[in-house]
């Protein structure tokens, strides 16, 4: 049976919110369905959380779980906003998906908005799962959740800028390799589980300017020590966001 179809022209763009929601939904589904992506965004952070909280592998200040949980939250943010987004967008460019979407009524700013919503949705899911596991392990978060949210948003912007900078200029395979490498290096250096206080002073000065260090440091001072808004960390993240998003918007190649 062939259904009746009327090809008579009736052109028109859908309202922007509908387009953005449709695209964001498609992106969230793609992430949740992708095994490698889930490994990166959920399984590795939870293994790190459980492993480093349970086993006395490293000397950390204070209760182990209270030290590790904020670091793992920062790791999860980085995995979605940076690694996942860089690889996903790099391959979208390579497969011509960005080009094809460019021929639809969804504008480029609409597409960016959809990607932002998708990243934040995945982050909310990650935070819910990681917080549940950490609470079950006896985590006692302190501080104002609003300050934590501000840090997470600024961190998301900084990591997204880095991701788009990479995905918009490198070949997809190079982005894949580089994004994983950067993830590993930042996981090791950024205070996620290894306190930066254990590094020699010269290295520490540099490491503290990295976005991952600012995010782990900021989240830890709020959630573990109940401090107010960590202005320095927030400024580091906002500076990264401004520079990377600014450069990415000039260098991004859609094809």
């Amino acid at each position: 049976m062939t259904a009746a179809l009327d090809f008579t022209p009736a052109p028109g763009a859908a309202p922007l919110p509908r387009m953005v929601l449709a695209q964001a939904g498609a992106e969230v589904r793609a992430v949740l369905r992708n095994g490698e992506q889930l490994l990166l965004t959920l399984i590795i952070p939870i293994l790190v959380l459980v492993g480093f909280s349970a086993a006395p592998l490293l000397e950390v200040p204070g209760r182990r779980i209270d030290f590790v949980a904020p670091g793992v939250l920062a790791l999860a943010i980085m995995s979605t906003a940076f690694t996942g987004q860089a690889i996903g967008t790099g391959f979208e460019r390579r497969y011509g998906v960005l080009k094809r979407l460019g021929a639809t009524p969804l504008s480029r700013s609409g597409l960016m908005l959809a990607k932002t919503f998708a990243v934040i949705t995945v982050e909310v899911l990650q935070i819910a799962v990681i917080a549940a596991v950490a609470l079950a392990m006896g985590w006692h978060p302190q501080g104002d959740p609003l300050w934590a949210a501000a840090l997470i948003l600024a961190g998301t912007a900084a990591f997204s800028g880095l991701a788009l900078l990479m995905a918009g200029t490198l070949r997809a395979e190079a982005t894949l390799a580089a994004a994983n490498l950067v993830y590993l290096v930042l996981l090791g250096l950024g205070g996620v589980v290894v306190p930066v206080t254990t590094f020699p002073h010269a290295i520490r000065v540099i490491v503290e300017l990295l976005p991952i260090t600012a995010l782990t440091g900021g989240l830890r001072s709020v959630l573990a020590h109940g401090s107010g808004l960590p202005v320095r960390d927030l400024l580091v993240l906002l500076a990264w966001a401004a520079v990377t998003l600014g450069v990415a918007s000039r260098t991004f190649r859609w094809e």
């Binding site: 179809l5 090809f7 022209p9 509908r18 589904r29 992708n34 998906v97 080009k99 021929a103 639809t104």
Partner: protein
């Protein structure tokens, strides 16, 4: 009055020092099917992608539905459907989801399920794009080009790699779009496709238009006599027996084509000459020139 679906004037496109499009002028009428033919590298895809707003022309003017495809993109994009030559779909996305997504960018889309069914993809609605066959991928891209009920569609080699059934399904969609007043601009390598589908054929080569018109006006009323015989017949001698203005050629070896005033008299002369030479002419036929003949005459036979 309606502006043409596409109007290109003195279009120029360079990639570095290579001139891909060199002063190309063409127009595609509203509600008509326009086929752009040309050998590989002739500039077909560059031309179409400039119309789609993917590339910026280095010279000349581009108007699509009367609009500039880059400066007036927001206004134009909802009205135009695009089928890329390949790709454009995430490998992991399911066929039905992709079509539904594209449909949700439009105000009055076709029903994605009905469209999948129409193109024989209903049972693959849940199949990821990368697991579809080449022909199924092409049909999904065609579906995505028309789902938004556009006024104008660009199809870049829509039937490349399709089996005969899928080609016919694609042709039927183009016929139906035309019947509903949609303008279509397509590129193709297939002469029969252009002959069957197009109201207007534009042959381009080395970035410029070498011929355009209806398929009929390009092939002309002229007829040809074709036959097969042993290779190496002395055609110059044959020509002396034929009326002036006739032409004869052997291409490929053993296949002969006589052009000119092909009537009973000429037919008689050729068969008599063959008999005198002791040659049997096989598969003797009288045909109209095909678009392929015209195409090869204009663009040459050498491989590129």
């Amino acid at each position: 009055m309606d502006s043409p679906a596409v109007a290109l004037t003195d279009l120029v496109k360079r990639y570095g020092r290579t001139v891909a499009i060199d002063g190309l002028t063409l127009s595609a009428g509203r509600g008509a099917v326009t086929a752009i033919l040309g050998p590989n590298g002739a500039g077909k895809t560059s031309t179409v992608e400039i119309c789609e707003g993917f590339r910026k022309a280095d010279g000349g003017t581009v108007r699509v539905l009367g609009l500039d495809p880059i400066r007036q993109a927001t206004e134009l994009k909802p009205r135009v459907g695009v089928m890329l030559q390949s790709g454009g779909v995430p490998p992991a996305v399911r066929a039905g989801e992709w079509l539904r997504l594209v449909s949700r960018f439009h105000a009055h889309p076709l029903d994605p399920g009905a469209l999948l069914e129409r193109l024989g993809l209903a049972e693959h609605a849940r199949t990821p794009y990368r697991r579809l066959s080449g022909g199924q991928q092409q049909r999904l891209s065609l579906a995505a080009a028309v789902v938004g009920r556009p006024e104008l569609v660009f199809l870049d080699e829509p039937t490349a790699g399709l089996d005969p059934q899928a080609r016919h399904a694609c042709w039927e969609v183009v016929h139906e779009l035309r019947a509903r007043g949609v303008s279509t601009v397509l590129t193709t390598h297939h002469m029969d496709e252009a002959e069957k589908l197009a109201d207007k054929v534009v042959i381009i080569d080395r970035g410029t238009v070498v011929a355009q018109g209806t398929p009929r006006s390009l092939t002309g009323a002229e007829r040809q006599l074709r036959f097969r015989a042993r290779p190496g017949l002395d055609l110059d001698e044959l020509l002396t027996a034929l009326p002036t203005g006739s032409a004869a050629k052997e291409s490929p070896s053993g296949h002969y084509v006589i052009e000119g005033h092909v009537g009973p008299e000429l037919l008689g002369t050729v068969t008599a000459w063959c008999a005198a030479e002791g040659v049997t002419a096989d598969d003797l036929s009288v045909e109209r020139r095909t678009l392929e003949d015209v195409f090869l005459e204009l663009t040459g036979r050498e491989l590129r």
